[in-house]
């Protein structure tokens, strides 16, 4: 049943994963996501699930691959440098069409970077990240409640499309405490194992192989096309975004994650001072709501777009592709673990950009 609780983002995600059916967690400590493996370590045994603290992120994602390949609802979580290490496994998982969930509580980079919040993993999340042609379904939630709601259904999406799903948090999300409504426990006890899973029960011609090796070019090309056909379906069916005061907006601010909350307060301040600003917040960052951007760009009253991010400008590239030269696209960001205030955004807009 539903429950109202005050939870840290990381703990809320962990509990929502369990309620969404997750029964296997493999992870390695890294700040700022440590509450997820810590929570899973005691919670998984309570629901009859599996928890392992692996020897590395590389190993964790491969344990996910093994468990998920045999049909389990398996996940891992990490933060930026750890996600870089997981990219090898994620590529294999994508190639072998294995469903799983990966949580990335992004910290600043490059290299060891810092442990403060950032959004500098946008590229390695939405552009594939590892080797080869593939994508993931990537969500960029902006509140602990939205983390819960997305995590709760993330496995269903992963299994529906047989692909890895990433929840792209921006570091702050993992650490903030908010009141959340936790959904009831999903029951999968009577759901049969998926019809592709290598669960050890088949032999001879019926046997199943989880694999991403295709040595014949034609076969691999067919897989590449099959994967991208799925991404087209994602674009059509899974795009999620939220708009705030965009109806008459002249300046469309765009941001995802907690930055979108700061941007929303900036929109309010700008409106108070007579600037017609609005906010377009992508909730899925892959698929990217390009169509919505394109439609706004065709409106005569829209003067420009401003992408606000905790990076040197990553999502702004997708905004430019979507706007396709119809309107100017500007970028305003902080990085290194610094976070802008609403006033910073207002000041940027009022001064007329760079």
């Amino acid at each position: 049943m539903e429950e109202k609780k005050l939870l840290k983002g990381n703990e809320a995600i962990a509990e929502a994963a369990i309620r969404g059916g997750c029964r296997a967690f493999f992870g390695y400590p890294i700040t700022p996501q440590n509450e997820i493996p810590e929570y899973m370590s005691f919670r998984m045994p309570e629901v009859g699930g599996v928890f392992i603290q692996s020897e590395s992120e590389v190993s964790a994602i491969n344990m996910v691959y093994g468990a998920a390949g045999s049909g389990a609802r398996a996940m891992t979580s990490s933060s930026s440098p750890g996600i870089s290490l997981k990219q090898e496994g994620i590529s294999y998982i994508a190639g072998a069409e294995v469903p799983c969930v990966i949580v990335n509580m992004v910290r600043s980079g490059p290299g060891l970077g810092g442990i403060q919040p950032a959004q500098c993993d946008y590229f390695q999340s939405v552009k594939g990240g590892g080797h080869g042609d593939y994508k993931m379904l990537v969500y960029g939630p902006n509140s602990v409640q939205e983390c819960v709601d997305i995590m709760y259904n993330a496995f269903d999406k992963a299994f529906e499309y047989r692909m890895p799903v990433m929840i792209l948090g921006d570091g702050m999300l993992g650490q903030i405490m908010e009141a959340v409504t936790l959904p009831p426990m999903k029951d999968f006890s009577n759901v049969p194992n998926p019809d592709w899973a290598a669960d050890g029960t088949r032999y001879g011609n019926d046997r199943r192989v989880i694999n991403s090796l295709y040595i014949q070019p034609d076969e691999l090309e067919a897989l590449n096309h099959k994967l991208f056909a799925k991404y087209d379906v994602l674009q059509e069916k899974e795009c999620m975004y939220e708009e705030y005061l965009c109806e008459d907006a002249e300046i469309v601010i765009t941001a995802y994650g907690t930055v979108a909350r700061i941007a929303k307060s900036a929109v309010d301040m700008l409106r108070e001072s007579g600037v017609k600003a609005g906010l377009l917040r992508p909730i899925t960052v892959f698929p990217f709501p390009s169509d919505r951007f394109a439609r706004l760009a065709s409106r005569s009253e829209v003067k420009k777009f401003v992408s606000v991010e905790l990076s040197m400008g990553q999502m702004v590239e997708d905004v430019r592709l979507a706007v396709n030269g119809k309107k100017p696209v500007e970028f305003f960001g902080r990085c290194g673990g610094n976070v802008m205030t609403g006033e910073d955004i207002v000041e940027y807009i009022i001064k007329g950009g760079k």
């Binding site: 392992i52 020897e55 691959y65 093994g66 390949g69 290598a198 669960d199 050890g200 088949r202």
Partner: protein, 248 residues
């Protein structure tokens, strides 16, 4: 007349891609024959990267193909969510002792209840004969063309000796397949490694000394002689760990 020797049922009919005389075929047979003897309902194998990358086409059960070196982690994930399945990882020396050293050490240390078949032919076969972590001092490879030098490349890794120092493993034995007598001994070892898993005893690994006629530049018969005369002295055969004996 009755059949007294035939191909194991746990192998598919697909002809292997291995070079003539390569021990991988023998290691597949030993593994498959051991599984044939088990009375279990669920089997899942994990294939490596290297010459045995297509092992998933040869073992007649559900299989997962792992990334290079990660087979013990993949096998761990499978075994933990399907504990009543017999899960085995099949790995070569580059896969297990070089790029996947962390995965094998920690699977062993956890006492993961899986069976690992480790094929050590002291060279990278699939990529064309480069130096392996188990290439012996003086042995030639395409990345140490005058022979492995201690000054330049350090020493080969003795995996069975090393892993047997851990508390986690149940059973570790090094075997060879260079003649019929040794194949029979190897079969017993592989059988035991699987039986241990059925009995829930934890991590078992069999290191099989193997030939690579193609990259060693020898014919299959010379290669087996080389295993007997050279490899077996550098990598002594025998049981390195067996906790089932301690219990008895």
């Amino acid at each position: 007349m009755a059949k007294i020797f035939e191909k194991p049922k746990m192998l598919t009919d697909k002809p292997t891609h291995y070079c003539p005389g390569c021990t991988h075929g023998q290691a597949h047979i030993l593994t498959a024959r051991a599984i044939d003897k088990l009375n279990v309902k669920k089997i899942i194998g994990v294939a490596p990267v290297g010459c045995a990358v297509f092992a998933y086409e040869y073992f007649n059960c559900d299989m997962q193909e792992a990334a290079h070196g990660r087979a013990p982690a993949v096998a761990t994930g499978i075994k933990r969510v399907i504990p009543d399945a017999i899960v085995f990882a099949y790995q070569g020396d580059g896969d297990l002792a070089s790029i996947g050293m962390a995965e094998i050490v920690h699977a062993a240390a956890r006492g993961e209840n899986i069976t690992v078949i480790f094929v050590n032919n002291a060279i990278y076969g699939m990529t064309g004969g480069q130096m392996a972590p188990t290439t012996m001092i003086g042995q030639k490879a395409t990345t140490c063309q005058s022979g492995r030098s201690v000054a330049l490349n350090g020493y080969p890794i003795h995996v069975s000796e090393m892993l047997s120092q851990l508390q986690g493993p149940c059973y570790i034995e090094r075997v060879s397949c260079h003649d019929v007598k040794h194949i029979r001994q190897a079969q017993k070892a592989v059988d035991k490694a699987f039986q241990n898993q059925v009995e829930g005893r934890g991590f078992s690994m069999i290191e099989i000394l193997a030939t690579c006629p193609t990259n060693w530049g020898m014919n299959p018969i010379e290669s087996n002689k080389y295993v007997e005369e050279v490899m077996c002295s550098v990598y002594p055969l025998g049981v390195y760990k067996d906790t089932t004996k301690e219990e008895a």
